[in-house]
């Protein structure tokens, strides 16, 4: 199935917990408006929210860029922040360096990257210590009936 083209860049401010989720919410609304399948819309929204929260919790600032083109939805989250010294460790489920403030709000279970990997069809993470982190996620709209939720069956 083909989706209508749009691209948008959402700025995300580090520490602005009250604003986080706006990008994911806007993206969800736009996808729902063009009748993107609900299951795919939900996966994109969840991954976008995780990406936003990571910037909000760990970085000074960044942005989540969304590009919808044909059958593909691409999200790129870029931040200016401390970077990740050990990628393998950061990707391990349950590992988190979130500060107390984030945990008090219910974040920081160390499942963000795991969830992004589960939601997206492609996941790429690169980071430079002292510079920042970049996460790229690709979602593909497939014509066949989607499973109720992709991966990680419970």
């Amino acid at each position: 199935m083909a989706l209508r083209h749009f691209s948008r860049s959402y700025p995300v401010l580090g520490g602005a917990y009250y604003l986080a989720g706006r990008a994911a919410s806007d993206l969800k609304r736009r996808l729902a408006e063009q009748e993107c399948p609900a299951e795919l819309t939900r996966r994109v929204a969840i991954a976008a929210y995780e990406a936003e929260m990571n910037i909000c919790i760990h970085a000074i600032a960044g942005e989540v860029e969304a590009v919808v083109e044909g059958e593909e939805i691409r999200l790129v989250a870029n931040d200016r922040g401390p970077g990740i010294p050990d990628l393998a460790r950061a990707l391990a489920p349950g590992f988190s360096t979130a500060p107390e403030k984030a945990r008090a709000l219910g974040f920081g279970a160390g499942l963000g990257f795991t969830n992004m990997q589960r939601c997206a069809d492609e996941f790429t993470l690169c980071s430079q210590v002292g510079r920042g982190t970049r996460v790229e996620l690709v979602f593909v709209a497939r014509p066949e009936p989607a499973e109720s939720e992709k991966g990680g069956r419970q």
């Binding site: 986080a20 989720g21 994911a24 939900r42 995780e50 974040f107 920081g108």
Partner: protein
């Protein structure tokens, strides 16, 4: 289970979504970690939580959650209420604890959102 039956079982007050009481919730889950909710939440579920800030409403909306119950008489802050009205997320408040709310609903046949695996500590990877 219908939301109106949830209200009755939990002796809850409806703060937002009085018009949604006919809505059916297939499953429920109790959770105070937004991160866990983002990982384990399922569309249509009822969320029972002690979290009251706008982020939990935002998360519930993104996860296609049907309604939220705030436990132990907790009141959401005004920003959370406003967001709930804006996105149409029903909010109920029960005077009972999270444990008691879950027990009351479970006893009336509302199943949990994560099926038991029979293996302690296996929830994260299954």
């Amino acid at each position: 289970m219908r939301l109106s039956s949830v209200v009755e079982a939990l002796e809850a007050e409806v703060l937002v979504g009085q018009e949604a009481m006919e809505r059916e919730v297939p499953t429920a889950g109790g959770c105070d970690m937004i991160s866990d909710l983002l990982f384990f939440g399922k569309p249509g579920m009822l969320l029972l939580t002690g979290l009251t800030q706008p982020a939990v409403v935002r998360t519930a909306q993104l996860m296609d959650i049907s309604a939220m119950v705030l436990v132990r008489g907790k009141r959401p802050d005004e920003a959370a209420l406003e967001l709930a009205r804006e996105v149409g997320m029903p909010i109920l408040v029960s005077p009972h604890s999270l444990y008691d709310c879950c027990g009351r609903l479970y006893a009336r046949g509302l199943p949990g959102v994560i099926p038991a695996t029979g293996r302690p500590g296996s929830a994260r990877s299954t």
